[in-house]
């Protein structure tokens, strides 16, 4: 009984209290769980209702949007047709494009209203989430032109190569036997495989890209890095050697994987030093040829065994170019100073392109040592295993421009010192040749596989080229004066012979004593006199012709003159008041001798001009030729001017001023600089149109008042007056 008594005592009280607490806690828990459950049910119901209403709202909104888009398309489409009927092609295309956009929006909205939202309503929305946008993106990303659709005459395309950053399409191709034979006869030895780099508006390239590449092509062609180039309609392509191998970034990454996290082991370091020396050797050849690469980075360096090759000539620029410096290049491998200078608008020849290339080489060496790009420029830390002397070389190559290596050979000497050391880590910066250390013998850099240079020295600078051209022109004038003198002499001799013959006949007839014969002889004598005078006049005209123009008429032209009355000069009064006889229509190439040659340059490329504007330009060219006696180089007539590489001068002038408004100061200066070095044309007639397809702006650009058109006795001002009259 005692335990029972104990339970009924204080223990019972404790047990009751504990039981009450437990019961209370249990109750609270149950109530809490119940409330939570109710909350969950309410929340879920709320979410469900929101979801259902959201989907219904989505369907309604999309349906309304689809209807709105359809209405807009129905309004825009007739507007496109109306503009088409009026011949306003650009406006018609605009409205048609807008109608197309509206129809696309309608299809998208209809899809979302009919499929997207209903599927979301039943919980399957994620399966098709944003499918319409993704599909559109996929379609847009699809290659537009397949390799098989492209045709490069003389080459069979094997495959498409990864696209570079210059907007070009790259193809690996095999030249046909016939084409190889043909080029071999011209001294070009094509290898079995080549790379064709193609640009075109239809291939997705932009005009600035094409222009830039065209300029680079000129420099690359001078270096012999391009086998041939072809322009066809709205695209052009050129053919380069195919360089097999891996890009340096991949090769270096493999070296680091093999060496471990600490950095390059001795063998890998030795390979890196060898690659650096090869790179510097090849780059030295670029600089010696007067060009800089401008885009040196690991992905533009191909490693083939022990050799490295520099590819991608898209930004190659002549060191002495008069063009404005651009910021093109690759971030982290491009000297930030280049960007600063480019933003100041300096010209290429005002900066030292060699040093910008050397900065890039320093960045490439850094990337080889660190297996990463120099994210902080020259302040980037070198954390992996690297000889101190090599760190110094990297720092010096990436230092401020005035303190950087001056040439590839100076940098090469330092790298060679490290590479040739028994222990590269024992070489101190103070031991390097650039720091006063003993020099070492420089390695022989193999020439292959770059084609041998066709030039032994750098290309002439613009002023040297202009001087040579002036000397050539002078020689040509001298030869023409001599030829004219010979012709005059021949004419005099011929007239003398005719007179002599007439006199002889006259004497013979006189001896025969017949009166009618006297009359006949008299007539013959008069005719001979006229013939003599005519020959003399002809000789005088020929002499004046030579002294008035740069290029005198050829002997053939003189023997059978065209029905063209040559003006005494291109003075505005004589030209305006007494219209000249028209030059005869010429089907084949015309000889520009005696005629100023002017290039017709519209503000925008031919492809962006409509039919009206092209026709107007054709009229302008015809008027200039018929009224002024000027030969016009343009894309708007089929006439060839002899001795003028029309394609080259058109491309050159386009590169200087295209897409800029007539009168823009910098373009004008560039055109003048272009004319200074071009002996083929005397001036550029720069023309711009307004929205109504009328010629709204024009300007004649000539090199200066003492050359070019002035030597034809036409000043810029008088020409401008004539031109204004004509264009009005």
């Amino acid at each position: 009984m005692e335990p029972v008594a104990m339970l009924s005592g204080p223990f019972a009280i404790v047990a009751v209290i504990l039981g009450s607490i437990f019961g209370f806690v249990l109750l609270i828990w149950i109530v809490g769980a119940l409330l939570k459950g109710i909350g969950w049910v309410l929340e879920t119901t709320g979410r469900f209702i929101t979801h259902v209403f959201g989907c219904i709202k989505g369907v309604v909104v999309e349906a309304v949007r689809a209807a709105g888009a359809l209405v807009s398309a129905l309004i825009l489409f007739p507007m496109a047709l109306m503009n088409l009927a009026f011949g306003r092609w650009a406006a018609s295309k605009h409205f048609a494009d807008s109608a197309g956009d509206e129809l696309r929006a309608m299809v998208g909205s209809t899809y979302r209203a009919a499929i997207g939202w209903p599927l979301r309503l039943v919980g399957l929305g994620f399966a098709l989430d944003n499918l319409e946008a993704r599909m559109l993106e996929t379609v847009e990303r699809a290659p537009r032109v397949e390799p098989g659709a492209l045709d490069f005459w003389g080459y069979t395309i094997e495959k498409r190569l990864p696209q570079g950053g210059s907007g070009a399409q790259l193809f690996l191709a095999r030249p046909t036997d016939e084409h190889r034979t043909r080029l071999a006869s011209q001294g070009i030895d094509l290898p079995s495989r080549v790379v064709v780099k193609a640009f075109g508006l239809d291939l997705g390239s932009s005009l600035p890209q094409m222009m830039r590449e065209n300029r680079a092509l000129e420099a690359a062609r001078r270096m012999g890095l391009v086998f041939e180039h072809v322009s066809e309609g709205e695209r052009f392509y050129y053919v380069m050697p195919y360089v097999p191998g891996d890009d340096l970034g991949v090769v270096v990454h493999r070296l680091h994987e093999r060496s471990g996290a600490q950095g390059l082991d001795d063998a890998s370091l030795s390979a890196v030093l060898a690659h650096t020396q090869n790179l510097l050797g090849i780059l030295g050849r670029f600089h010696a040829a007067g060009v800089w690469h401008k885009d040196i980075k690991p992905s533009n360096i191909v490693v083939n065994g022990d050799r490295v090759e520099l590819i991608d000539l898209g930004l190659v620029t002549p060191l002495a170019s008069a063009m404005t410096l651009t910021t093109h290049g690759t971030e982290y491998y491009r000297d930030p100073e280049l960007v600063r200078q480019a933003m100041k608008g300096v010209k290429v020849h005002e900066v030292d392109g060699v040093k910008f290339d050397l900065y890039s080489v320093g960045a490439v060496v850094y990337s080889m040592v660190e297996d990463s790009f120099p994210a902080h420029g020259n302040l980037s830390r070198i954390t992996r295993r690297c000889p101190q002397a090599l760190s110094w070389v990297v720092r010096r190559a990436m230092a401020e421009s005035s303190q950087r290596y001056a040439s590839t050979s100076e940098m090469l000497a330092d790298v060679a010192k490290i590479a040739q050391a028994h222990d590269p880590f024992a070489v101190r910066p103070a031991d390097l040749p650039s720091m006063g250390g003993s020099p070492v013998e420089l390695p022989q850099i193999p020439d292959q596989p770059l084609p041998p240079l066709r030039r032994t020295g750098p290309p002439p600078l613009p002023h040297e080229r202009a001087r040579d051209e002036r000397a050539q022109t002078h020689r040509r004038h001298h030869e023409e004066r001599l030829a004219a003198r010979r012709r005059r002499q021949e004419a005099r001799d011929s007239a003398r012979r005719v007179a002599h013959e007439a006199a002889r006949r006259h004497r013979e007839e006189h001896r025969s004593g017949s009166r009618p014969m006297h009359m006949i002889a008299g007539a013959i004598g008069i005719m001979a006199g006229f013939a003599f005078l005519g020959a003399m006049a002809l000789a005088l005209v020929a002499e004046r012709h030579v002294s008035s123009f740069d290029d005198g008429p050829t002997a053939e032209a003189y023997a059978s003159p065209q029905p063209f009355e040559e003006p005494s000069s291109f003075d505005v009064n004589s030209t305006a008041s007494a219209p000249m006889a028209m030059p005869a229509p010429v089907d084949g190439p015309v000889d520009p001798a005696g005629h100023p040659v002017v290039l017709l340059l519209p503000e925008v490329p031919r492809e962006l001009l409509d039919a009206d504007e092209r026709a107007r330009l054709h009229d302008v060219a015809a008027t200039l030729e018929s009224s002024f006696g000027w030969w016009v180089v343009s894309e708007f007539d089929a006439r060839d001017v002899e001795g003028v590489d029309e394609e080259a001068v058109l491309a050159g002038a386009r590169a200087e001023a295209l897409m800029n408004e007539v009168g823009e100061e910098r373009s004008r200066e560039r055109l003048q600089a272009f004319l200074e070095i071009s002996s083929e044309i005397d001036g550029v007639l720069w023309i711009g149109f307004d929205d109504q397809h009328r010629i709204a702006r024009h300007e004649l650009v000539v090199p200066d008042e003492d050359r070019g058109l002035e030597r034809k006795r036409v000043t810029k001002r008088t020409f401008q007056r004539m031109l204004d009259t004509t264009l009005q």
Binding site: G58, V61, E62, R65, G108, S109, R112, G116, D129, N130, A133, P336, V339, R340, M343, K344, S372, A375, H376, G377, N378, L379, S380, R381, Q388, W392, R395, R396, A399, E400, Q403, R428, P429, A430, M435, G436
Partner: protein
């Protein structure tokens, strides 16, 4: 003193001076990229990060004409707010495409130009900003100083090489190393003061330099501390960015 806005850097930005914009981009472009990469937590691609940082600069260009720094917003906070606006704008746009709705985000001015309502930037972002400013100062010193002088400074201060080793490596005397080091240190102090003033809207931002041990006032006794502080900020900044670059890769 924070910069004079009528003649200072902000004025150059307002007049669309390309050099000033490039300088701003060079210093703060990496910070913006780093910040976007952090916010994205690996879900924003590298190209999108680049685009967003450029769009932030574009938004900054439109905001700078009307912004009034006297409201007391720090430059770094202001920049962060614009970056955040750009990011949310991008997300709004993407979500709008997904939803098929044309939801308009708040305007730029509504979004960032409200002092006190913006969450203060975290310590890491502030460290990035200070690091970028120190790096900008070092970069301008590197351009101005003799190459040998700066290399001495780099080896001695930034790489922590002992004075006598620097002297042996570069073929200099120890006294020569000290002299060149002092010369560059003075330049660093000067340029740091200029950079800090250029990108500070408030006195508090300027005082931050001192708090980080980067006191620009010359003091012989604090030379070692100053060098140590520069080195620490430089390495920390490089580590942060390397970490973010790795995460982005």
């Amino acid at each position: 003193m924070p910069q004079d806005l009528s003649t200072g850097f902000i004025q150059r930005l307002r007049t669309r001076d390309p050099q000033a914009w490039y300088e701003l981009w060079e210093i703060f472009g990496p910070i913006l990229r780093a910040q976007f990469a952090r916010w994205g937590k690996g879900r924003i691609g590298a190209e999108t990060v680049k685009d967003l940082s450029q769009e932030t600069m574009a938004a900054l260009a439109s905001a700078i004409d009307t912004h009034d720094p006297s409201r007391g917003v720090r430059f770094s906070t202001w920049l962060l707010a614009i970056a955040k606006y750009t990011l949310t704008d991008e997300f709004d746009r993407r979500m709008a495409i997904k939803r098929g709705e044309g939801k308009k985000p708040v305007t730029l001015d509504e979004s960032f130009d409200r002092p006190g309502e913006e969450q203060p930037p975290d310590e890491r972002y502030e460290a990035l900003v200070v690091g970028a400013k120190v790096e900008a100062a070092l970069r301008s010193v590197e351009r101005e100083a003799e190459h040998m002088d700066f290399e001495v400074y780099r080896m001695r201060v930034l790489e922590g090489v002992a004075g006598k080793d620097v002297a042996a490596s570069l073929g200099l005397s120890e006294a020569g190393v000290s002299r060149r080091l002092g010369k560059v240190r003075d330049l660093v102090r000067g340029h740091l003061g200029v950079v800090m003033a250029r990108f500070s809207f408030t006195d508090e931002e300027l005082e931050e330099v001192g708090r980080k041990g980067l006191d620009p006032n010359p003091n012989k006794a604090s030379d070692a501390l100053f060098d140590e502080a520069v080195s620490e900020v430089y390495h920390r900044y490089a580590e942060f960015r390397a970490e973010i670059d790795r995460a982005g890769a």
